[in-house]
């Protein structure tokens, strides 16, 4: 029995639906693949970074031990990075991004823990959030800016919109120690509004990502400021236990 026109068109529709579903499946698989591999990469780069830090700690520990033997006081700044972070100051004229990055970025509010790199071009951002080279280095005056993907490549900044004022962001560097920032505000701007990266007399850290989710129409900006967390123990005063 010859097929009717209706049957033919239904078959065509089915084929189109099948093709669309296939393409959708391919895309989803691709995104899943990207996110899974990015997550694996995040974990592996984090563990590599921590190994590097521990090796660095061991080296600096050995160096401190030999300095102690030589009668050099190594106590200042040791374990009190946050205390001296703002007031002690760093000579930024002698420092480069290599002294800070890769750095470990931790945001307890959203359970985020990853490595951020130097460079924010598309290729660099595939391996994780990156520091925009034109912006200041961590701890310096101005707006040190880290850019990251919101929904792809492991979605590192997927939940940064959940941050609220006062939330803490920890940036740990291997050579220059720990920088702690506290969130002071958020902003949503157009991608071309690069003015947001400039003009601050404070020591700030900006996290930027696409907004809203699954769209590159706007940029979500998390603004945070460097903060000292002061130790308060008697042991810090040099006695106690």
């Amino acid at each position: 029995m010859p097929k009717t026109k209706n049957q033919n068109s239904r078959k065509k529709v089915n084929i189109i639906i099948l093709i669309i579903a296939g393409i959708g499946l391919l895309f989803s698989s691709y995104f899943i693949y990207l996110n899974v591999s990015a997550e694996m990469e995040r974990k592996s780069s984090l563990s590599r970074w921590e190994e590097g830090r521990d090796a660095g700690d061991k080296d600096s520990g050995d160096a401190a031990a030999s300095q102690k033997e030589a009668g050099v006081d190594t106590t200042e700044g040791n374990g009190s990075d946050t205390f001296y972070r703002i007031d002690g100051g760093l000579d930024y004229s002698a420092l480069t991004s290599g002294d800070f990055f890769p750095a470990k970025l931790t945001i307890p509010r959203i359970g985020m823990e990853l490595v951020s790199w130097e460079g924010a071009d598309p290729q660099s951002l595939e391996q994780g959030p990156g520091h925009i080279p034109e912006t200041p280095l961590p701890g310096d005056i101005g707006r040190c800016t880290i850019s990251g993907h919101r929904t792809t490549y492991g979605s590192p900044f997927n939940r940064v919109d959940e941050l609220v004022e006062g939330d803490l962001i920890y940036m740990e560097t291997i050579k220059e120690g720990l920088f702690i920032y506290t969130v002071t505000g958020t902003d949503i701007v157009n991608p071309e509004d690069v003015y947001i990266l400039e003009g601050s007399d404070k020591k700030e850290l900006l996290l930027t990502t696409c907004h809203p989710k699954y769209s590159g129409a706007k940029r979500l900006i998390i603004i945070s400021e460097l903060v000292n967390l002061y130790p308060m123990g008697i042991d810090f005063y040099g006695g106690g236990e």
Partner: protein, 188 residues
């Protein structure tokens, strides 16, 4: 006549010798008596001192036993709170809370110190130093709290806080040294 003369001279000589001997005996006796008196006085003095010292030691021990648990409680509380600060926090509000708790611990210790009465003389120096320290400790924490409340974290002039930390550390060491001196002296 000549025999009489010799007898008189002999008698005079004997008398002179006797007088010299008496004098020597008297002087020596005086010395012995003086020595005895001095020894006795020394013994009485020593006993008195021992008595005073043991009385002092009792007072010092009593105060020391009263003070030490309070002081240990303060130090333990301060160290524990400071250790907690080494953890990662979600929000700076938690850090402010911990700092306020630390202020409460220091204020409670100062209040207890101020309530103290009849501080034994050997511990007065320590007591004053300890008060200087705890006042400086409280001042430091208040400065830190004012920093957190300023909302002006990276441009805040932290020099005063830093100096306050150094001063407090130095006062703490002075109080510790004085306490150690008293402990060693009275074998506490």
């Amino acid at each position: 006549m000549k025999g009489k003369k010799i007898t008189a001279i002999t008698a005079l000589l004997v008398a002179a010798v006797i007088l010299v001997c008496i004098d020597v005996i008297l002087v020596e006796h005086g010395k012995v008596v003086a020595e005895r008196e001095a020894y006795e006085n020394e013994r009485i003095k020593r006993e008195l001192l021992e008595e005073i010292k043991s009385e002092e030691a009792r007072d010092v021990t009593r105060y020391y036993l009263e003070l030490m648990p309070v002081r240990d409680e303060y130090i333990k509380g301060a160290v524990e709170l400071s250790r907690e600060l080494e953890n990662e926090f979600v929000n700076i509000g938690q850090v402010k809370e911990l700092t306020s708790e630390r202020l409460d611990v220091a204020t409670a210790y100062r209040d207890k110190l101020l309530l103290a009465e009849n501080i034994p003389a050997p511990l007065e120096n320590f007591y004053n130093r300890e008060l200087d320290f705890i006042n400086s400790d409280i001042e430091t924490i208040e400065l830190v709290l004012s920093y957190y409340d300023s909302g002006n974290y990276s441009t805040f002039d932290g020099l005063k806080i830093k100096e306050s930390y150094i001063d407090t550390g130095s006062l703490f060491m002075k109080a510790e040294e004085e306490l150690k001196r008293v402990i060693d002296y009275y074998g506490l």
